[in-house]
Amino acid sequence: MSAYTYRVRSQPNYPSLKWDVSGARHLLVILDLDTNSIAELCRSPCPGPLEILVRGEATHPALIPFNKANILIHSFASMDTLIVALENALDQTTMGLRLYALGHEDGLWKCNKAGQKVGMSRDEIQLAQASTTGRPVYCVHCGHHMNLIHTNITVCTGCKRHLLVRDHFSRLLGAYMGFQIDAESPGLIPAVEEVFP
């Protein structure tokens, strides 16, 4: 196995969010409050009714562009409660909804999964990475999931192996593959570097 010598095409690209004018209703999930991304999105007005789920305070300055009477903002203290609320919102929805998610990668793919579960297609969901490039990682040896991994090599919290974090990405698992870096020469661990700030 190798990594990083060429681009792996399963690795997601995250363009910035843009209102989809073909949508009848819009649901924006803000996992991490990122002032610049929100300001950029709000350069044009949302083309239809908009509802926002945010992790953090609804009064955060980054949300000022949304301070309009007809926009519903729901605030959540944790990722878990936010995702549950998203699933509930999606359960009650009908055709024409567009889902947008902004934040760290692990959360983005949880939102994507919730959308796919109710039959939304890839082009009805937009994901944009913000605040960190810390990676969700799946250990291919023991199946353990880890989140917000910032280094090229990490120790699996499930099986304790030293894993190299590859660029190969599974949308279904919402994670990059990690595999044992010293399998061919036990104990030889390359330098650990922060590569996903």
């Binding site: 196995m1 190798s2 010598t5 060429y6 792996v8 095409r9 399963s10 690795q11 297609s121 890839r122 799946y138 291919v140 040896h141 199946g143 192996r161 590859r166 660029d167 190969h168 990405f169 599974s170 949308r171 279904l172 698992l173 593959m177 595999f179 044992q180 399998a183 061919e184 020469s185 036990p186």
Partner: protein, 338 residues
């Protein structure tokens, strides 16, 4: 025609060996002295009696031992059989295709009789005598894809076709060259091949996908792929990389002929009639360098292919640690080398 099935292992003591006949019919994959990716797809039609291309699913002397090795892998590790819920029709399609093909091509080994949905399957080499109702999963001991894959050689992957793409949505994968079904399940065609270097840049995957989306029922196709494996190990999965990774550091000039194996995949693709899915069969053949050099033309060609293989391909295929040792050893079989 009866096949002398071998008693052998693909792990631990590695007693796997090829007979002279198995070497003779080995699908040597190089049509020229250099290798690069191409869309090397041809119709999967019966050619050359006795060859691996004679029958839809080739059964050879390793059949029983391979089925035993698969049973060990499926019993030991999770998620080597996976099927997303919408793949049930494709599972039954696959069971039907394998049973009808095997019974037709090897009537002395397999028999299938059908009375409407009531089917009776007999697999003599594995001593299986199964009555079941086609379409009723409760009448089989395993899900249909797992059931029939446990009686087949090579891996079986089911691709769903939708949104102008093919999706890896089910499979039994226990004889793979370092890819994980548990990780890749649910991927699109291009995501699945994401880690392969160089091929996308020359348009191989885009053209292959376009071609496969048009695949017709009754007109299967095949292609060859290859890598190398140390020891005759079928289960070179990422899950068990810690077990087979160290083997790569064990190759010496003394053992290279016996340890290093050319691993050739005869890949077949079938459109499935009910599900409109595609069955992707990946049949693995293993031959040691000692086996291969019994054919002088192969020894010479393999020397040149390995010597001149682009470095990114050597890295991707995991050959870097022992390539030079193999090239040095093979040189003696290439008398006209420059």
């Amino acid at each position: 025609m009866s096949i002398p099935f071998r008693q052998e292992t693909f792990r631990d003591d590695f007693t796997y060996r090829n007979s002279a006949e198995a070497v003779r019919r080995f699908p040597f994959p190089f049509p020229q002295d250099a290798y690069m990716y191409s869309v090397n797809i041809e119709p999967h039609v019966s050619v050359d009696p006795g060859s691996v291309y004679e029958h839809t699913f080739d059964i050879d002397e390793h059949y029983i031992a391979e089925c035993e090795d698969r049973a060990i892998t499926l019993g030991k590790t999770k998620n080597r059989f996976l099927a997303l819920p919408h793949m049930m029709d494709a599972q039954w399609d696959t069971l039907e295709l394998l049973m009808t093909s095997m019974a037709r091509d090897y009537p002395d080994l397999f028999a299938l009789s059908r009375d409407g949905a009531k089917w009776h399957w007999m697999n003599k080499p594995l001593n299986i005598d199964q009555h079941f109702v086609f379409g009723d999963t409760r009448t089989l001991p395993y899900a249909p894809l797992e059931y029939i894959s446990r009686q087949g050689q090579g891996d079986f992957i089911l691709l769903d076709q939708r949104e102008g793409n093919l999706w890896v949505d089910a499979g039994v994968v226990t004889t793979q060259a370092d890819w994980s079904l548990a990780f890749d399940v649910g991927m699109s065609f291009n995501e699945w091949h994401g880690p392969v270097p160089m091929a996308a840049e020359i348009g191989v995957f885009d053209r292959a996908l376009k071609f496969l989306l048009m695949l017709q029922h009754g007109a299967p196709v095949r292609r060859l792929n290859w890598t190398m494996t140390i020891n005759p190990r079928l289960d070179t999965s990422p899950e068990h990389y810690d077990q087979w990774g160290p083997d790569r550091a064990s190759v010496t000039p003394e053992n290279v002929g016996a340890k290093v194996h050319l691993r050739v995949e005869v890949q077949t693709l079938f459109r499935l009639p009910r599900s409109n899915g595609v069955l992707f069969g990946v049949r693995c053949y293993l031959a040691s360098l000692n086996d291969l050099v019994t054919n002088p033309a192969w020894g010479q060609r393999l020397h040149r292919v390995l010597r001149d293989l682009p470095q990114p391909l050597a890295e991707y295929k995991g050959l870097v640690r022992y390539r030079q040792t193999a090239v040095d050893w093979l040189k003696q079989f290439d008398q006209s080398h420059s």
